[in-house]
Symmetry: C2
């Protein structure tokens, strides 16, 4: 019965798509409002109505040639959407693979950084043994999820929050050099803070704008929040874990003793808590099964035949009537030229600024003014998953004020024999420092510091692969970095089409450092371009 | 090179197992201490050394017959461990399937509750369309994970925390009847509370035992915790979400407006936060791929041939020399008798108390004194996953003060077409109220109340299946419920062997309501029994 109805009936999604094609995004909006479906996310999703699949043909406008520079996530998204609408896209990609920073390292991955020798990943040949050198997680509400759905990319949770992970700080008071489970630090810090405020609620000095009943509700909340005793003291909590676990018969378990207030305040652990509160770091997060580049491979199924790999852009030229790009085929060392109607340029500005191009002076200046963030990662393959086997820790991270900054445990292939940890993920000055080291020195540092948290490191280590994004050819940076001032000044120039050239990428968005930024920026360029073509 | 070393070398786990076999658990303990591997969890794991596989044979003690009453998780664990050691186990199971409360509902599941008619699950035939009527999640540190590893049960994360889920309360001030994303309620409550305390830190009235530097650190923490402005005000936060999402070009996003302090305090949402802080509810949690009964099926591969299904225990008898159990074959209605050396009785005490048995007066009294908690669940199959498609909500829960108490979204088969929600999961008096309704009335209530949170409910609904655990034959309760007093009195009797009968199950543990309690209790009985047999 249900199955019959279902097959007869158009899904809501199909219906909205149809309305979109007939009446455009305004019609979709109005209808969704009527249907009670308007949320910030659906609003945003509804903003993009892909170009009609027959628009070009019906209006006799076939043959529009679009040259897309860079087959990263922005370039792939643009080529995919334009391709569906009948545009003739060509992608020039300097690397031997698509995806840009969406790059998954596995056995045999070979790459040279700028100024250093070749590095080959000597990981085992196993689909679960990979690590994502660039983006590694996707918030539920990012458009990236919608492309995974549309392209048939299977996803699984990325364990961004795990209370069994550790905090480990040095030079931070009595708890220095001690690995502390996150659950323990959180229970104590939240407990003491709730106690302080619960006792103060009734003090006149605080002058809270609450009536007596509301004050009672606040105290009730603080008791729950801090696991306080009836007389409003924090005396430790099972939330922080046990010295001896509860078990069968008379084993009631023995709770750990709480740290004292001074120790936990001086540890600095509390400053880590809010990492997990950021809008784009909150649970739940996801990643594709088998590596982030599953997204790239899925796009390549649609547009792979439009990509010229290992082609390095030499010049970007434009006139009133079209664009022209000179590129070098890195295999043959021959220069070629390609002409088109429009150009979508997704090359990171750190690289683009060095390419001769016909940009307006304002655009050239904006490109030159843009800075990129440093970021570095190392993948460490271990002979066994000691974090799972010995420590009952399945995914998530440990955070530290050592240079390695953080360790992430794999959120895939639980219970399998070997595993690849993210041994460090550093930003800013620390990333630059690590990037300045040889691959061997980076490995040694990751192992030496990591072993302070996990003594099993040295015995179980297998192989490493490290990345310094500032030194990755054709990338030269982790992600764009704008100040509030930058956004008010030159960023606005970057957002405007420069005659026939449109910039796209995470750098043309307010979701910088995320694939969703690249995708959203590609979609808006696609819409713009299509509108321009249809009105021409 | 790495691969060679690995194959030559014994893993740490294998090594410890070997040591355990040679020298018993004391040797394992001492060695693990030396190796720096002693954590509360490993300590607990090390406490169980399975009976030696050749102990019986080497000592000429073959032929020990163990009768296990109930093929739930405790019975299966006991049979598995004893079977490996060469014991001759027979399991009597009243139902047609093993697992007890570890019960997964899928297409065709048919069951009658006590006092009501037959209910058949009319879900679609699809491996992803199931719901776990009993246990549905596993903390990382529970022994359940170790059995999954050992038995080859594939696991995936159970999304117990999802900031995109909702709170929805009625009769709770200005926010009554409004579904509020968890992230929004948390950002506001934490923000205001951090603001209150941050402003109070320097007030003498508070008299905090902290020096000026520590007070500054505390304020720094509170600023991070609450996302406060430099002058320590909470003015809203991107953590709470957006009215308009940030996107490409000039779309910086528009943050939602915070609720005012009075509204958020009166909403009662804050009292939900700490659910996620409980030791056994913290992320990360897991569940077997395809349904919790994957654990049962894995055990059945080893001991399935020892289970007599649909056999109802009529009498439990024991003497100085052995045990004797009278049971009825429910297929033939014939009574049979089985004799053995020992009995492990895992029958829930709510059922056991009605079975004539040779228990000591103390034990009989203890069994009679034990109370069980009420619990009820409903699974709702929907024609499409509107929570994923429309609301970008992948797993996790919504909480409410309506009778349905909570909704859980499936943590499996993301992006697939249909899905089964947990439409309510109620305890106590509410569970009793729902349990007293007909299956149709329960369904109607789940849909009517759920539709207040998800207007898509009515249009997309397919089929339901509901459970009231107090009415499930041979279970008659959700889980055992001891007061602190009970633990000090009759519980101690339940833990002791009664001549040749040993009780096992979640009710003989401090991990009640969890499969781990059943497993741990079975393991300790296995150890006891083996020691007794070897010393006899």
């Amino acid at each position: 019965m249900a199955t019959k109805e279902q097959s007869k009936e158009m899904t809501r999604r199909q219906f909205l798509n149809t309305v979109g094609k007939l009446g455009g995004s305004v019609a979709v909006f109005s209808l969704m409002g009527t249907m009670g479906l308007l949320t910030p996310q659906t609003l945003k999703a509804a903003e993009f109505t892909p170009p009609g699949r027959n628009d070009l043909q019906l209006s006799g406008r076939t043959g529009q040639k679009i040259i897309i520079l860079g087959a990263g996530i922005a370039g792939l998204t643009a080529a995919y959407e334009l391709g569906l609408a009948g545009y003739d896209c060509t992608l020039l990609e300097a690397k031997g693979h698509a995806g840009g920073r969406c790059w998954t390292i596995r056995k045999g991955t070979a790459a040279s950084e700028i100024g250093t020798g070749l590095q080959i990943a000597r990981f085992d040949n196993d689909p679960g043994l990979y690590f994502n050198a660039g983006p590694m997680r996707i918030p539920q509400f990012h458009v990236t999820m919608e492309y995974c759905r549309t392209l048939g990319v299977a996803i699984e949770p990325f364990n961004n929050v795990n209370e069994s992970g550790y905090y480990y700080n040095e030079n931070a008071g009595p708890l220095s050099g001690q690995r502390v489970p996150k659950r323990a630090a959180k229970a104590d810090m939240r407990g003491y803070v709730a106690e302080m405020l619960a006792k103060a609620v009734d003090q006149k000095a605080l002058d809270l704008p609450l009536g007596p009943e509301e004050k009672a509700k606040l105290v009730e909340y603080l008791r729950a929040e801090g696991d306080l005793s009836p007389d409003l003291f924090y005396k430790g909590s099972s939330r922080g874990g046990y010295k001896t676990e509860p078990a069968s018969r008379l084993d009631a378990g023995v709770r750990r003793d709480p740290f004292d207030l001074k120790s936990i305040v001086n540890s600095g652990f509390g400053n880590y808590f809010s990492n997990e509160y950021s809008y784009d770091q909150q649970m739940l997060m996801f990643h594709p099964v088998g590596g982030m580049d599953a997204i790239v491979k899925a796009f390549e199924k649609h547009v792979g035949d439009r990509i010229k790999y290992r082609t390095e852009v030499q010049e970007i030229r434009q006139s009133a009537s079209g664009v022209r790009v000179v590129y070098k085929d890195l295999a043959t060392k021959q220069e070629h030229e390609i002409a088109g109607d429009y150009c979508i340029c997704t090359i990171p500005l750190s690289v683009l600024k060095k390419i001769p191009a016909d940009f307006s002076p304002d655009m050239a200046k904006a490109i030159n003014s843009t800075r990129y963030a440093s970021a570095g990662k190392i993948g460490l393959q271990f002979k066994r998953r000691f974090w799972e086997e010995d420590e009952h820790l399945y995914g998530g991270s440990s955070l530290t004020n050592m240079d390695i900054t953080q360790i992430y445990y794999p959120s895939n292939d639980y219970f399998s024999k070997k595993g690849i940890l993210l041994g460090y993920y550093a930003y800013g000055g620390i990333a630059d420092k690590l990037g300045g080291m040889s691959y061997q020195e980076r490995e040694k540092l990751a192992l030496t510091q990591g072993a302070k948290i996990h003594p099993q490191y040295m015995k179980e280590f297998d192989a490493s692969f490290s990345i310094d994004w500032k030194r990755v050819p054709y990338q030269e940076g982790g992600w764009v970095s704008y100040s509030a001032d930058d956004r008010q000044t030159f960023y606005k120039t970057l957002c405007k089409p420069d005659n026939r050239i449109y910039l796209a990428g995470e750098h043309i968005s307010y979701i910088t450092a995320w694939q969703a930024g690249a995708m959203e920026s590609a979609r808006v360029v696609v819409s713009d371009l299509h509108q321009r073509v249809m009105q021409a």
